[in-house]
């Protein structure tokens, strides 16, 4: 999982390019905190798909998916609309059950919703009648206020805890949603194109935030996206889902933090993925 395709390793001047990739061109203040060195705690949960099929009527949306995602890995699933991406994610979230086959989370068969799995939706889905902190602590577990404050500080929104969601920007809403997912210390975080509707700058900000949080917490992450650049910027491994089948399983071992644009290496990965989409 840690080796790049041979054409990339053979590339002359790779080291020089990688050196450049280490400098991040845009780093807003609120995200500037260095990643905490709690990496590799292995708190993530592994997910396995064993011959998972999902049919809607006579239409087979997922065709016998076999997939192992080790604990702590960041996987991006790319594909066209209607390719089964969201269906796959809903299965992993326990919101839907496979027609046949089995899903396991850290070895245990998944039946319905799982307390260690959290999902970030395309739209933030904040409760408009709860303040920011009320949304983050939605489960109202004991000492939820402290946990929610901590999560909000983590996503750089410590000063907005008493605001209504209606006055937040799109990016801020997704950050609140991210904090809401983090508050329960998930083992698996599922991201259903959460940054698709954001403007380019905000999206880069959110990528950096997502990467930092992931490095801090080491949960297993599945990111659904149609943005190949986003997938290459964030994931350890990119899967292409086409007509209900995984047609490409590509490890991406670019060093982190990655540069999103004008990185020749990333561009080559992107080209490789785009060919299959």
């Amino acid at each position: 999982m840690t080796t790049a395709p041979s054409f990339l390793r053979a590339e002359p001047g790779v080291d020089r390019l990688r050196g450049e990739a280490d400098t991040v061109p845009f780093r807003p203040k609120s995200l500037g905190r260095a990643a905490v060195e709690s990496q590799g705690q292995g708190k993530g949960l592994g997910i396995s798909f064993r011959g998972v099929r999902r049919c809607f009527g006579s239409r087979e949306v997922l065709k016998a998916i076999d997939l192992d995602i080790p604990a702590g890995q960041f996987v991006a699933i790319v594909g066209r609309s209607g390719g089964g991406k969201t269906t796959l994610l809903r299965l992993a979230a326990g919101l839907d059950a496979p027609t046949s086959g089995e899903l396991t989370i850290s070895g245990m068969p998944l039946a319905g919703l799982h307390g260690g799995v959290r999902l970030l939706f395309q739209d933030a889905r904040l409760l408009p009648w709860q303040t920011v902190i009320g949304n983050v602590g939605i489960a109202r577990t004991p000492k939820w206020r402290e946990a929610a404050r901590e999560a909000l500080a983590d996503v750089g929104l410590a000063d907005r805890e008493n605001d209504w969601p209606a006055i937040l920007s799109g990016g801020q809403r997704q950050r609140v949603a991210l904090a809401r997912a983090l508050v329960s210390k998930p083992g698996v975080l599922l991201l259903d194109e959460p940054y698709g509707a954001l403007d380019a700058l905000t999206r880069v900000e959110m990528h950096q935030l997502t990467e930092r949080i992931w490095q801090e917490h080491r949960f297993t992450t599945i990111l659904i996206t149609h943005d190949v650049a986003e997938a290459v910027a964030l994931a350890d491994r990119v899967l292409v889902l086409r007509d209900g089948q995984i047609v490409l399983d590509l490890p991406v071992d670019l060093p982190r933090p990655r540069r999103e644009h004008a990185d020749p290496l990333a561009t080559q990965f992107q080209a490789l993925i785009l060919k299959e989409v």
Binding site: A93, L95, V117, R118, L127, P128, W129, P165
Partner: protein, 232 residues
């Protein structure tokens, strides 16, 4: 120009107002009318709210009750006055019953509709984030239905006063409706007019109170956020 029997001068109405204030009759009558109105509202509104919630969250209840309720709703409740008098006589129960029936349906329909139209996405989110059925109801479904429930309440308040006026003019020995009917017997057009004005004021007061309630419980709603740097 206009004979006082048809329409008295405002000064005469003011005078009638002053006389009724001094004798205390106005307050006694207004208080008793208000009490009836709110008793009916609490009973009918409570039933409407409960039925709306039950039918909104539980499909079998809807199948069982909704069509019967829709049928009853289409009966003009004032048409039941003869029946109500036979059932309850002309006591307090008759008026409270009529008000209760009148306010029940707008609250029922709006509660039901409000619950049914709560964003499915929010309900799904709440389930993913581990909310049980009770927490789901109190934290997601009920607040989501609240704007609609309050519309029902405002509508119900209008019906509440309307029903009460009719009920009091038909059978009563106290209340604003009785006061105006009694004045009609003695051709006191000024007192009749006063009664109408009092009804208008009570109606307005109820509406103002609901608006205040709305502003308070719907503070989260963008439509109620005026100042505080809300730019959209």
């Amino acid at each position: 120009m206009i004979p006082p029997r048809i329409l008295p001068a405002p000064s005469q109405v003011a005078l009638a107002f002053w006389e009724n204030v001094q004798s205390g009759a106005l307050f006694v009558n207004a208080a008793i009318s208000t009490k009836r109105a709110f008793q009916g509202l609490v009973i009918g509104g409570g039933i409407g709210l409960i039925l709306g919630v039950i039918n909104g969250v539980w499909r079998p209840a809807e199948a069982l009750l909704d069509s019967s309720l829709q049928m009853l709703r289409n009966v003009p409740h004032l048409a039941m006055i003869p029946l109500v008098i036979l059932w309850f006589g002309i006591d307090e129960e008759a008026k409270i019953f009529l008000v209760a029936v009148g306010v029940m349906f707008p609250i029922y329909i709006n509660t039901f509709h409000g619950i049914r139209t709560v964003d499915r996405g929010l309900i799904e989110m709440a389930r993913v984030y581990g909310l049980g059925p009770l927490a789901l109801f109190w934290r997601v479904i009920l607040p989501g239905a609240l704007p609609s429930i309050l519309v029902g309440l405002r509508y119900a308040l209008g019906i509440m006063w309307l029903t009460l006026i009719v009920a009091e003019t038909i059978s009563s020995s106290s209340g604003i409706g009785y006061m105006t009917m009694n004045a009609r017997e003695f051709l006191q057009t000024d007192v009749v007019l006063l009664g109408i004005i009092i009804y208008a004021l009570l109606g307005k007061l109820a509406d103002v109170l609901t608006r205040m309630l709305e502003r308070r419980v719907l503070a989260w709603h963008p439509a109620y956020q005026t100042a505080k740097g809300f730019a959209a």
